[in-house]
């Protein structure tokens, strides 16, 4: 079985996000970029399936600016076998919407015929939480989102999902789309020798046009603003004062 893993290049999760003064978006110029953390979990899960003998090949795919090839090299250094870069934007500030990403991925999947797609449940930039579900819809495949545990059992996958009330286990027909939640695994760090080896692994480059997908956005960004700041209150010296303050406010 071949496993396809879509990965996104996003602002590094440790970087403080700054909204641009003109309200046009978040400043991404000269900012450290990394692989979306949920996608790292997805890559790790795919590699573990290969190590367990349940998958033969892991293919990483990224859609966005040309620099996303760095993100793909990270996936290759972690253990993916090859990568496909689909250049769909010239400017790092141009986010390709999940619907367009899903349409391009469908084109890739029609060619590659994987048995399983593992994606991150959401990207930490637009926080959409949508690409996996949309891709499953376009392919007419089953979907198992917010995975906490994944087990492949012949032509089915058994997936434990993180839901509001706790954990739900479902059984989905393969081929399937699985999206990774935080507790699915702890991704490995790429070792230096593997980083060197990754440089020699195949990385194909294509464009959105190759798949006949129009990536122009459906959602026009009117403005981007800072959230209303919450003012710090007061420090209290002890529990008695805290209890008195809360009683004064009529909360307890």
């Amino acid at each position: 079985m071949k496993v396809l893993v879509p990965v996104k290049r996003v602002i590094d999760y440790n970087v403080k996000v700054r909204v641009k003064a003109d309200g046009s978006g978040v400043d991404l110029a000269n900012v450290k970029m990394s692989m979306n953390p949920f996608d790292e979990i997805a890559v790790e899960e795919a590699i573990r399936l290969k190590e367990a003998g349940k998958a033969e090949e892991v293919v990483a795919v990224s859609i966005g600016v040309k620099q996303a090839q760095e993100t793909l090299r990270t996936a290759l250094a972690m253990g993916a076998d090859r990568a496909i870069l689909i250049v769909a934007a010239d400017d790092v500030h141009q986010d390709i919407e999940p619907l367009a990403v899903a349409k391009i991925l469908k084109g890739v999947i029609d060619e590659e015929q994987p048995g399983l797609v593992i994606a991150g449940k959401q990207a930490i930039d637009n926080d959409m939480n949508a690409t996996g579900q949309m891709l499953a819809a376009l392919l007419g495949w089953s979907q198992a989102t917010f995975a906490n545990e994944l087990d492949i059992d012949g032509d089915h996958a058994i997936v434990k999902r993180e839901v509001d009330g706790g954990l739900q286990t479902i059984k989905v027909k393969m081929p399937a789309i699985v999206t990774a939640d935080l507790r699915l695994n702890e991704p490995r760090y790429a070792s230096l020798p593997n980083i060197m080896k990754a440089k020699k692994k195949p990385l194909d480059e294509k464009t959105a046009d190759d798949y006949g997908v129009d990536v122009s956005p459906r959602l026009e960004v009117v403005k981007t603003s800072e959230p209303e700041a919450r003012k710090a209150g007061e420090m209290v010296p002890d529990v008695d004062t805290l209890v008195a303050k809360l009683k004064e406010k009529g909360i307890v």
């Binding site: 996000v17 449940k121 959409m128 979907q143 009330g165 706790g166 026009e220 603003s225 805290l242």
Partner: protein
């Protein structure tokens, strides 16, 4: 314009708070029709018919919808979509799973976690873990969206909408439910609780989380946790408060041993009053807290539990 709203139903029971908040978010957009889908959904439909601003309730009762799997529920919504300009649901994990699938089937771009409705085409939603708020204008004919309920007040009760049965859609036959491991608890539900007490990495172990639970029980509160506490195995995943967990806005939020990472703040900063207890006086949580207390949580929390 007309709105179709997927009610949140768990085991045949309507989640009134989430559903009524979603109704109040969208009722300016047109007549609101609620879809009550489940293995048993009639009682939930009757309850939803009482929400102010609801014009009609459609009931789709079938075992197929019992566990609200994405494939059959999206097929159902798409079969009904023709009459509506907006298709919405409160942003629960069920809806986050279902609605993007619906949107793609309708060739619309989903709008998730909508925190404000500006007009029929324009909406606000938080991005970058709540570090920025984006206003977007949708060019799609049909808007499909999930509502971040914590920013809306629940619509009142007192309506009497008509309740009609609707035809079920075909079973795509792609997925089956196996089992649920749901926490049984007498405590209020986290996203609708008036008071929430949350513990973080500072609590130190699963066993020590008992002191958080004791304080919560004294206050009649729900228990929450930071991502760090859940990742460390101190608390179950369904307690996680934050951008990728649950978003809460109670009257009182007590953060114990939580440093206040951005992604946690995104999940609780709309709380009316925030109390922070932490041994590190530099912890970022104090910058959003109304009342901060620096010290050892193992002394402070039991003392607070006793004195409240």
């Amino acid at each position: 314009m007309a709105v179709l709203l997927l009610a949140e139903i768990n085991d045949g029971e309507l989640a009134m708070d989430a559903t009524a908040k979603a109704v109040s978010a969208v009722k300016s957009l047109g007549d609101v029709t609620i879809l009550a889908a489940g293995a048993s959904a009639k009682a939930a439909a009757e309850a939803a018919a009482k929400i102010d601003g609801v014009a009609k309730v459609l009931v789709a009762e079938d075992d197929l919808y019992g566990h609200r799997l994405a494939e059959p529920v999206s097929a159902l919504i798409v079969s009904l979509a023709g009459d509506y300009s907006h298709i919405v649901a409160p942003a629960t994990t069920d809806a986050k799973n279902i609605m993007p699938r619906v949107a793609a089937l309708l060739d619309s771009m989903i709008l998730t976690d909508v925190s404000a409705v500006v007009d029929a085409d324009t909406f606000e939603r938080p991005i970058y873990a709540g570090n920025a708020i984006q206003t977007v204008k949708s060019k799609d004919e049909k808007k499909v969206m999930t509502i971040r309920t914590s920013t809306f007040d629940a619509a009142g009760e007192g309506g009497s909408a008509s309740v009609e049965e609707t035809a079920t859609a075909e079973d795509p036959g792609l997925s089956e439910w196996v089992e649920d491991a749901m926490a049984e608890s007498d405590r209020p539900e986290l996203t609708s609780a008036g008071v929430v007490v949350s513990g973080g990495r500072g609590v130190g172990s699963k066993e020590d989380f008992a002191i958080i639970e004791k304080l919560a029980d004294k206050l009649g509160a729900a228990v929450g946790a930071s991502r760090a506490a859940v990742d460390s195995g101190y608390a179950p995943n369904d307690w996680q408060v934050g951008q990728t967990g649950k978003v809460v806005a109670p009257e009182l939020y007590v953060a114990v041993g939580i440093s206040g990472a951005i992604q946690h703040l995104a999940g609780m900063k709309d709380s009316k009053v925030i109390v922070a207890i932490n041994k590190d006086e530099e912890a970022p949580i104090f910058q959003v807290a109304d009342y901060g207390l620096v010290g050892d949580l193992f002394q402070i929390v039991p003392e607070l539990t006793e004195k409240l």
